[in-house]
């Protein structure tokens, strides 16, 4: 039972992270399209932001693993 609940929780965390990283990616694409000369800076900022969002999702996944 806890395993199932943990899986659902991990899934929910992944939905959130997916939305968040998707938004970051789309914004970064927009920004790169608008300012191609700033690509490398935007990419760095994008990866930092994505890593932070992902970190939150991974907390969810790890908590899920703990319950497994």
């Amino acid at each position: 039972m806890t395993g199932t609940l943990a899986a659902i929780g991990a899934g929910l965390a992944v939905i959130g992270a997916g939305l968040g990283i998707g938004k970051i990616g789309s914004s970064a694409m927009d920004a790169i399209a608008r300012q191609p000369e700033a690509t490398s800076k935007i990419q760095t900022a994008m990866i930092i932001a994505a890593a932070l969002v992902e970190g939150v999702a991974l907390f969810g996944v790890v908590v899920g693993l703990m319950g497994l």
Binding site: S40, I47, I48, A51, L52, E54, G55, L58, V61, V62
Partner: protein, 368 residues
């Protein structure tokens, strides 16, 4: 070219020799030893992928290659235990692949059992088998699969970078060639795109050795973990390893934290006094949360990659249909290729966030 080929062949031969000599030692035992896992699969019972996957991504005391006809083909690794009676060492083959706590190894008047890849010492008079009441845990300093893989990666890293450094010491500051021409762009990438950007022109040089070491350590271990059989150990997907790496970053960040960094933690400038007091615990938690996030991110990303690949391959066994391999193998291949990217990306992210944390700790603001 020829030299490289020779080195590869040599490594392979040495490796094969190690494994085969150990196989000889095991073979006559395996016939009489019970194999829980093998029995499960050979009796055509319901295949449960979770224990198999967990076994693959968890640490182990021997290097298991494959099973064939009930024989486990594996390389034994040394077991080193720190007990009340001092250091105890023996090879993991002494357990005869027993992982259920039934097989007892006696050393220095102590009886050891292995249960779920953990080693316990049985209390005096207690029967074989694991239970919390009859066993005491021991400090296990064994060369486990992860430790061995880590040592292997260290050898590779040292070989690669000593060779790179040798190129420069031999030829002076010339254009890179051979292995150096492959590694130099990466070193420059770490320097220019990670250290300089996040720490700043003035102070980045001090942290370059750490950032380079951590970057290549993570990257090489990630890649090694993706190679089945000779790699395949889940080093960077082990929370103990990522914990150590994250703690190193935390220590370096906080040792180098300047007045302003600590000022922002204990007395946030520009905030009213009650808010300042309220922010202290939050900021202190932040000091711990940052490396914690680093630890979890690397661990979860690498472990997740391994789990996905293994799950896809498990589909064949779950449905007991070899033709399913036509679907699951390309998928697993795709995920493996993706994992190559993730291997680099996670090394990059870990290094960059480390540099970012160090950068905020040493930054000097001109304003206020």
């Amino acid at each position: 070219m020829l030299k490289n080929y020779f080195v590869k062949t040599l490594v392979f031969t040495v490796f094969s020799l190690i494994s085969f000599t150990s196989l000889k030692a095991e073979n006559h035992d395996t016939l009489t030893t019970k194999h829980d896992e093998n029995h499960e699969t050979s009796e055509n019972s319901e295949y449960d992928p979770i224990p198999v996957i967990m076994h693959h991504i968890a640490d182990a005391h021997d290097w298991h290659f494959f099973d064939y006809n009930g024989h486990a083909f594996s390389m034994p690794l040394p077991i080193i235990l720190w007990t009340d009676n001092g250091l105890v060492t023996f090879m993991s083959s002494e357990f005869h692949h027993d992982n259920s706590g039934e097989h007892i190894v006696e050393r220095k008047d102590m009886r050891f059992i292995k249960f779920n890849e953990k080693i316990y010492s049985l209390k005096i008079g207690a029967p074989a088998g694991f239970s919390y009441d009859t066993t005491t845990p021991v400090l296990d300093l064994s060369i486990t699969k992860n430790v061995f893989s880590m040592l292997m990666s260290v050898v590779i890293i040292l070989f690669v970078f000593f060779k790179t450094a040798g190129h420069y010491t031999k030829n002076g500051a010339v254009a890179p060639k051979g292995i150096a021409s492959f590694m130099e762009p990466l070193i420059l990438f770490v320097r220019d795109d990670i250290a300089k950007v996040n720490i700043g022109e003035k102070k980045y040089m001090k942290f370059m050795p750490y950032l380079l070491t951590i970057f290549f350590f993570i990257w090489f271990n990630n890649l090694l973990g993706l190679i089945p059989w000779i790699g395949g150990a889940n080093v960077t997907g082990n929370i103990a390893v990522t914990l150590v790496l994250a703690i190193f970053t935390m220590i370096i960040t906080n040792i180098n934290g300047n007045k302003e960094y600590w000022g922002h933690i204990f007395w946030m400038p520009g905030a009213p006094v009650p808010v300042k007091i309220m922010l202290i615990p939050i900021e202190l938690v932040g000091v711990l949360i940052k490396p914690f996030a680093l630890m979890v991110r690397l661990f979860a990303n690498i472990t997740a990659g391994h789990i996905v690949v293994l799950s896809l391959l498990s589909l064949v066994f779950i449905f007991k249909n070899a033709s399913l391999g036509a679907v699951s193998v390309p998928f697993a291949l795709f995920i493996s290729v993706l994992e190559l990217l993730v291997a680099f990306l996670q090394a990059y992210v870990f290094t960059m966030l480390s540099a970012l944390f160090i950068g905020t700790a040493v930054a000097e603001h001109e304003h206020h």
